[in-house]
Amino acid sequence: MPKLLQKPRVIARYQRDLLTKLLPACTTLQQAQRELSWIQKELPREQWEQACTQRGCNLMPLQYILGNQPFGSVNIKCRPGVLIPRNDTEEWCGELVDLFHGSDTFSVLDMCTGSGCIALYVATELSNVTVLGGDISQDCISLANENIDLNKDIIKGKISVDSMDLFQPLAGEKKFDVVVSNPPYIPTRELDKQEEVEESVRLYEPRLALEGDLPVFKALVTYHIIPSQCKIFMLEIGSREQGQYTRSLLNELWVVGLRLDSAFRPRNVIGFRTDIKSSIKRKVMSKITELL
């Protein structure tokens, strides 16, 4: 450490300057202090100043600056071009794996896998699973593969990723027991509104991973959920309407409901076929807060 920086007054002034830089991106001083401590913990000293400018003045997401985001017990590498894993998604992944602890071996399709976070969460928590992550973006496929490699020591199940188009039928008549997805679900009219979508999201995260509405859910049901003959699905949604629409696409063989997140917003549409084992049925029902 240079001698000059050891003087408390100099350090205090330096920290204050960095904090001031960060403030525009943080709602509170405490939040800015936390972000600064993470930057200082994870990046070398010579990058601190630039990182704070990128974050505060340019509103770049912290995860792109630090290059990663913890997701459950998985560490997910992040870079521009691929959606950053969210808290809300982490929350429902935890509930998803709860359903399958100790169950028979089963297969999962994670459509629009992006960084691979959902697929990796499942494959690191459960050993009785084979997960396939699909995405149309090559940036996502290569990042998801890097993330599999990064976490290979804690992966218990089988996992792979492949190039797949949400709006095309599943190739090769593949069958899955479970379909999960965090598809793009922000309607175009909302995506461009400042009051709807956070500035740093609109500026830096890929539109491909964000923009979408009812047609996305139609494609998931008609090209993936029904042809794969899956028994259970769990999709992240942005509005109650998207859940109701998904319900309308499925027949009476399906029980479909909404799951609210910890802030009581509709966050998932969950469905299961009535002919699955009653032990699993009960578990899935416990995750549904409202039937559709």
Binding site: R34, E35, Q63, N87
Partner: protein, 168 residues
């Protein structure tokens, strides 16, 4: 040698327990508390916002004690930290005399006290030695530089005394 003996004899022997001999961290059963993930601010969520913090709040059912943690970026880590804090608080409440927190704190106090004592003893010895040297030169009023081939030359006494003190 003499100094060493004096130093150790001036310290009363205090036995400090080893750091790895501390009692185990208290744990708490998952059904004793309610866990909540706190989200501040706006009503949106999901893909629309990208939060960097992940606040975990635990409420102990029996006592109503509430603890939170958002120290790290990892929710898993924050959940662990919150459980540790809550377990430690409960232990403090139930058995304050034997709680791990108290025992660890007491050990830290002892370590600090021992360190202070050592530092004090060290400076006392240094001060004493200095005093001894100064006493040695006390009686000298005038210093003369003597060379075999020339007459004795008077020198600055104060300056030379300081030089001598350093060399002793």
């Amino acid at each position: 040698m003499l100094r060493l003996i004096r130093l150790s004899s001036s310290l009363p022997r205090v036995k400090i327990p080893k750091a790895n001999k501390m009692p185990a961290r208290p744990t708490i059963a998952e059904d004793e508390f309610k866990e909540k993930f706190i989200k501040g601010g706006s009503g949106k969520g999901g893909q629309k916002i990208n939060k960097t913090n992940s606040k975990v709040q635990l409420t102990h059912i029996a006592t109503g004690i509430v603890v939170t943690s958002q120290a790290t970026r990892s929710r898993e880590q924050n959940r662990k930290i919150a459980r540790e804090i809550l377990a430690s608080k409960l232990q403090d409440l139930e058995d304050p005399a034997n709680s791990r927190r108290r025992i660890v704190m007491e050990r830290q106090k002892m370590v600090k006290a021992r360190k202070n004592k050592k530092t004090k003893a060290k400076y006392e010895t240094l001060e004493k030695n200095k005093q001894e040297k100064e006493d040695l030169l006390e009686g000298i009023d005038e210093m003369v530089f003597i060379d075999e081939n020339s007459e004795p030359v008077q020198v600055d006494t104060k300056q030379s005394k300081q030089k001598l003190l350093k060399q002793l």
